[in-house]
Amino acid sequence: MNAQDALVEYLLRLGDNALILGHRLSEWCGHSPALEEDLALSNVALDLIGQTQLWLNLAGEVEGRGRDADKLAYLRDARDFRNVLLVEQPNGDFAATMARQFYFDAWHYLLLHGLTGSTDPRIAEIAAKGLKEVTYHLERSQEWVLRLGDGTEESHRRMQSAVDDLWMYTGELFEGDEVDQVMVRDGIGPDPATLHEPWLGLVRATIEEATLTLPQPGWAQKGGKRGIHSEHLGYILADLQFLQRAYPNATW
């Protein structure tokens, strides 16, 4: 795989993670447990949509085929999406949303931290901007895991089952492939495997403080990074892409 193809692929992964998770969070707007939370979740979603634009525009630029962030977001089919499986999982109850968010934020934080030292200054710059946002996302999802884990009996039960259910989607975050090898070789991004230990440290500390039990290592679901997704992604795209597909070549 040549360096340029690998870089495009890598940027698509970064952009698609932000896009799909931002989309999922935007589904909460107007349906969350309190008005304050509607505002807060929307802020996280807006940060992620902003990051999507930056990553996907850069992906289009590196690719050099005239595709910008909108073309990439709205005119690719599911098999061409490169997000991890974790972010496309349904919102479920508030505990499931927060467990998904916490697992992702902890990883996202470490990843962006690594990317701020990228040899590619464009990537380092986007990562630095994103890191500030994600530092807050992580703080917020951590606080919620604590409150739900160490709250009432019901919230504890729901939170435990959420962290258990989503656990199998976290393995993919640390799995490297030939794209990652090129990124490591060229000093563009960190080796995903090196993020695992600090991630586990962060996750374990919060989960234990929340009086929850850390799930046992087990079988990891993977494929998102290569375009093999869960059934959920197709429906997300049916929503997301509806207008662009129904009215091709219109501007909005």
Binding site: E36, Y136, E139, E143
Partner: protein
């Protein structure tokens, strides 16, 4: 559903970019101080309004009573000598 107690009310104070004192901007509900600060950030600084946040539980604020307005504030009306405009400075001295 009304037998449930709701999250307490917090008053939010924000210091803007320009180094002025914290100013009361509004209120919100939150279960505790940490969440109140985060909620204040999300509710009241969406448009770049602040660099520092204070939150105070509304029930912890001691306030002057509106009925005391006369005795508390009217006496200051007669202390005109506290204001710089009370004093006449010769014009040729310029600004003082």
């Amino acid at each position: 559903m009304t037998d449930k107690k709701e999250w307490p009310l917090w008053e939010v104070f924000i210091r803007s970019q320009h180094g002025l004192a914290h100013r009361h901007v509004g209120s919100l509900h939150a279960p505790d101080a940490e969440m109140a600060i985060m909620n204040a950030r999300d509710v009241y600084t969406r448009r770049n309004e602040g660099v520092s946040i204070w939150v105070v539980k509304a029930s912890d604020i001691a306030a002057s009573s509106p009925g005391d307005k006369g005795p508390l504030f009217d006496p200051a009306n007669s202390k005109v000598y506290r204001h710089p405009t009370f004093y006449e400075i010769p014009e040729e001295l310029g600004h003082m």
